[in-house]
Amino acid sequence: MIPNRYPGIEQSIRKVIEGLGYGEKFADLPQATCCPVPGVFYSSDKSTWLALAARNLCLAQDRRLEMVTLCNGCFASLLKATECLSKPTTMGEVNKVLREICMKYTGVPRISPEGRRVLEPVKVRHFIDVLYNDVGVDAIRSAVVRPLGGVKVAVHYGCHYLRPTETGAIEDPGDPHMVDDIMAALGAESVDYQSKLDCCGAGGGVRSHVSELAAAISKDKYDHIESAGADCIVTPCPFCLLQMDTVQERFEGRKIPVLHAAQIIALAMGADRRMLGLDFHKVPVDGVLSKTRGG
């Protein structure tokens, strides 16, 4: 979805990784495809969903890489796939399908503390987890050249960031803080609002199938964000971004720009804003840009 709909997010994360000096630690997976989208594949045929996800995981496995995603949906889909594939019988069934394309999912070999060779699931990670836990908030703060002082941000985490699988949460789904902390490192103020942890309404095929219902769910969120006085909404998910950005044409009142977390980080790190694809969002992002010093 990102390359075909929001390429600005793709360019933003490239600038962020480069700017943080992590360029050599990341690689593209040019053969990777749609995760596949859970609202369609996981909902209609789990065996196809799992085989397509396993194919993507094999690409990372064969190069001994962790898989990092910029999307809550991809994160949940791929992480859930690794959990399913941990069952030997399921792995066997999937590998029967993968044999037809000359691939095999085994997991990644590692040496255990006891010196034995063990196979571990391919590690699937959300980029917020990587930025927060591997790069660190201090390193991000040091890389900021255009501090976002005075910008009030309403953070929307999104359901599959908070609850990717039954056991795979990155942080406490009832009290998440990583995106807020990163926003603070950029100099922005994260404002609290009533429905902060609620759904945007788009997931599970609701947006595609019954867009009015998705909009009704988004409306509550929008109202709370509006009354909290936020200048913009920041989310770590392109699908939540799509929903919260495009849904606003249905609502009366102030339009609130929506940015992907990678975009606002790149902005604060001084990336040329024309490269971040912000001009292509439905709600103009100009207001936020003019608040950024030197922007």
Binding site: V37, L52, P173, C199, S208, H209, G277, F280
Partner: protein, 175 residues
């Protein structure tokens, strides 16, 4: 639900619960109808489709009624987080969708997105506008090298044929 016709015995499909389990929906009988799921469900808040009612109908085997409830779960998994019986109602909905796809047919967006993935490897089409935008912001117009994309699409179609997905959804796969 009050306005719906009274339940008659013939409506109750005894095999329905088993079928739900087969598709990974879990054991609906553990639900004690507390309604926590409904209280936190964004869809239940906005529509007549209350999770608790859907689970009750499943417990009673009211298959036709359940299958005619719309495809409207956002899979936010809040219900699971709040279920004291350890059920995962969102996974129940996923299982019900599996049954709908097989017995009623897939909704149009599922067919369309499946087509996109089978043809392009991506869920969304790449429009001329986006290609232009990609160039403007310093990225290659096509996100994926053609050789890699062709190979990926070929893999996807082979997988879909192997699992019978093309027939299930009713899409034609190119060569």
């Amino acid at each position: 639900m009050l306005e719906e016709p009274p339940i008659v015995d013939e409506e109750c499909d005894r095999g329905f619960i088993k079928k739900i389990t087969e598709f990974g929906g879990g054991d609906v009988q553990v639900c004690m109808q507390c309604g926590n799921c409904t209280g936190v469900c964004p869809v239940s808040m906005k529509t007549e489709n209350k999770v608790r009612n859907i689970i009750k109908m499943c417990q009673m085997g009211l298959k036709e009624r359940v299958l005619s409830t719309p495809w409207v779960c956002a899979t936010c998994y809040r219900c699971f987080e709040h279920c004291p019986s350890g059920m995962n109602p969102a996974e129940l909905i996923v299982a019900l969708r599996h049954i709908v796809v097989r017995e009623v047919g897939p909704p149009p967006f599922v067919v369309e997105t499946s087509h996109n993935v089978a043809d392009l490897g991506q869920s969304m089409k790449l429009s001329a506008n986006i290609m232009e935008m990609r160039k403007e912001i310093g990225l290659p117009a096509e996100p994926f090298d053609k050789l890699f994309r062709d190979k990926a699409v070929n893999d996807i179609r082979t997988i879909m044929r192997a699992t019978g997905f093309d027939k299930l959804i009713g899409i034609k796969l190119g060569d």
